[in-house]
């Protein structure tokens, strides 16, 4: 975790200067382009402001339809047909000669479609269906979140590396299925959370619990917990900052690490148990120690027995998987990949690793006190802590959609839906990225099963 912290601080300071100037310089331009976008594409704006329907919902215009007449039918006959149906307003879409016909007032789309389909001159008649864009949040730093959607963009300010397209966790496709529910609670067992952060404030269930200072206000005096919280469930689609993996889920801060990012196992144990008793669905443990302890194992076992999913960081020193991530039966142990879907060298390998998620150069929320006044409270950092946060977000979305699932089932869904991105060198489950880099789409969107039958007698 030390490396995480060190990297965070260095990255944040370097990034601050670059990002702040970059954002200041480009904010005006961005705002202008958003304004142009809003003026020119009101449909897209509307889509961004409301939840697009799922694929199963179909809607279409209730005042016009699309009709194609057979190519052999002369124009006069078409006009006569229009007149016979009292159609006064229509427009021809050139090149393909499809008529966009306004349905007369005394008729309906259904009636007109029925009549048109019966007509001998008509090749086809169909409703004018509504198409929807993929769910893309309007948070102004979303384009830096390669982990959620990687189009091959620069992963940070100019000069930063460029990612490989699709080396992401397929968040935008998964959000079509669910963005989470407010009653799905995720415990951030960490350094606390900045309770006043503008991108987190509305997502924090309560002041939480501080086991370091023995009070009920888990204020972050280090920064790590706030960063993790932003990845999991920053307020999304609010035109500000970043998008959280679990848009609508809420956060419960539990402070078990002090202002230098260290904490006794007893604080962590108490924090886990307290969070479980608060009915959280997921416990995020972006922390770990090199030494096993029965009591720590008992704590994660308690969470597991209560069907709370525990995601834990594998570690950042290239050594063995740390504890509690190494408690294989009770935790999802998470390693880190980068913007090219490659495992990063400092991510700890081991047979306990279940899955991987992006952990290199991740943008997220930092406490508002962290940078000088006038700075934006966001920064970049690397570590399996942040990979773990992506996994916790996915677990929360699964439980939002299917609250009846057991912790074991959720863990299996996350494992089995992963993409084996290193299969060319380590096919199947391996010590480096486990089953692979998580794939939110596969975990959440219904899988289409085709006819290809399994031949039971085949060898």
């Amino acid at each position: 975790m030390k490396k995480t912290k060190l990297l965070s601080v260095v990255s944040l300071i370097l990034s601050l200067v670059l990002l702040d100037s970059y954002i200041s310089a480009f904010q005006g331009k961005q705002r202008k382009s958003i304004s142009d976008f809003q003026e020119n594409l009101r449909l897209s704006q509307t889509i961004n402001q409301k939840s697009p329907p799922s694929q199963s919902k179909i809607s279409y215009s209730n005042d016009h339809i699309l009709v194609k007449f057979k190519s052999s039918i002369p124009d006069e006959y078409i006009k006569a047909t229009m007149s016979s149906f009292q159609i006064n307003e229509y427009k021809v879409i050139p090149r393909i000669n499809v008529f966009k016909i306004n349905v007369p007032e005394n008729s309906s789309v259904q009636d007109m479609l029925y009549l048109m389909k019966q007509h001998q001159y008509v090749e086809y008649a169909e409703p004018d269906y509504v198409a929807y864009a993929m769910v893309t949040p309007n948070d102004n730093l979303f384009s830096y979140q390669y982990a959620l959607y990687n189009s091959g963009q620069y992963i940070g300010p100019p000069g930063s590396p460029q990612g490989q397209s699709s080396a992401d966790i397929k968040a935008t496709l998964a959000w079509e299925e669910t963005k989470g529910t407010v009653d799905t609670l995720i415990a951030i067992v960490d350094t606390g959370i900045d309770l006043l952060h503008p991108d987190l404030q509305s997502k924090i269930e309560s002041g939480g619990r501080d086991f370091v200072n023995s009070d009920f206000e888990a204020i972050d005096d280090e920064g790590h917990g706030t960063f993790v919280a932003g990845i999991i469930a920053a307020e999304t689609n609010n035109n500000e900052g970043i998008a959280g993996v679990a848009w609508n889920c809420n956060l419960l801060p539990v402070k078990v690490l002090d202002d230098i990012g260290e904490g006794y196992y007893s604080w962590i144990i108490e924090g886990i148990i307290w969070a479980v008793d608060e009915d959280v669905a997921v416990v995020n443990l972006s922390l770990g120690g090199a030494v096993p302890a029965y009591s720590l194992e008992n704590a994660v076992q308690y969470a597991h027995q209560n069907d709370v999913v525990v995601a834990a960081a594998g570690g950042n020193d290239g050594g063995s998987v740390v504890y509690p991530a190494a408690y294989d039966n009770y935790c999802l142990a998470v390693s880190a990949t980068d913007y090219n879907d490659l495992r990063v060298s400092w991510s700890n390998p081991g047979p306990e690793i279940d899955v991987a998620a992006p952990g290199e150069y991740i943008i997220s929320t930092v406490p508002t006190w962290y940078f000088p006044p006038g700075s934006v409270p966001y920064g970049f950092a690397s570590g399996t802590s942040f990979s773990t946060a992506h996994v916790s977000g996915l677990a929360a979305l699964i439980l939002s959609l299917k609250p009846w699932m057991t912790a074991d089932e959720v863990m299996d869904v996350i494992r089995y839906s992963a993409d084996d991105v290193n299969e060319n060198i380590h096919p199947g489950k391996d010590d480096f990225i486990g089953y692979g880099r998580i794939n939110m789409e596969k975990a959440l969107v219904p899988i289409i099963i085709e006819k290809k039958e399994i031949n039971e007698t085949s060898e």
């Binding site: 199947g428 959440l444 099963i449």
Partner: protein, 259 residues
Amino acid sequence: MAKKRFLSAIIVFLMAWPLLSADQFFKGGFSTQQIKLGIEAEFFDRMIIWGEEQNETSSLQSFLFLFKPSYKLMEGTSISAVMGYSLSNFNDMIFKELPFSLKLNTGNIDGLAFGGEAVIQILKFSDFTLSARGQFIYYLGFTEQWEIPDLAVEGTAIGNPNWARLKAGPKISFNVSEYLRPYLAANYDILWGKFKMDEQIEDIAKEQEMKIEAKSNLNFSVGTLYEIIDRLDLKAELSLLPLEEQIGLSIVIGANYSF
């Protein structure tokens, strides 16, 4: 359970009636009681509702190839047993209660179809005949297995569907000629069933049983019987289910040979 027991009783009764009446058949004359052997093919496409709150829809398409021995009790009144083969297509149903949600795009699922049919003449006036007819068909789908694609491990989905359809209503037919008898009918037409889906992916073993039922329960039919040669008649029938969002339909063609 009561519904199942009632349906079982109807099936047993309809199938057993020709056998129970065999004694009377052999004692009685061939002049008033006839046996017909028929074959029938039906295609129907109708909207079904399903899901946790029975609020999701998709269409059920089914082909039925039926063997249909009939026993004529008296003029205009007969009972038939129905047995055969069916292909039913449940595409677009989604099983969301499984750990991995599954959407069917598996096409036709084979199965057996059996049941019974009865036609009772109520009134005959001039060339018009008013009858009541009822039919029950039970589709018992075969269990099929499919691969769950694109996962990090191998996974299997095992599906087993069934449905039952009961339709009954009045039918009015008109003797156009000695050979041609068109008819109109209205039917109360209910369909219900379930689809059991089993998901097996390493440690995951979960089952979801989804109830299905038809969206609308009323259909109107137009059809005709045509005797092409002595003792052999053909049947064609088109039914529409107009209350559905997209009109459901059923097309039946068949042939009967009288003994």
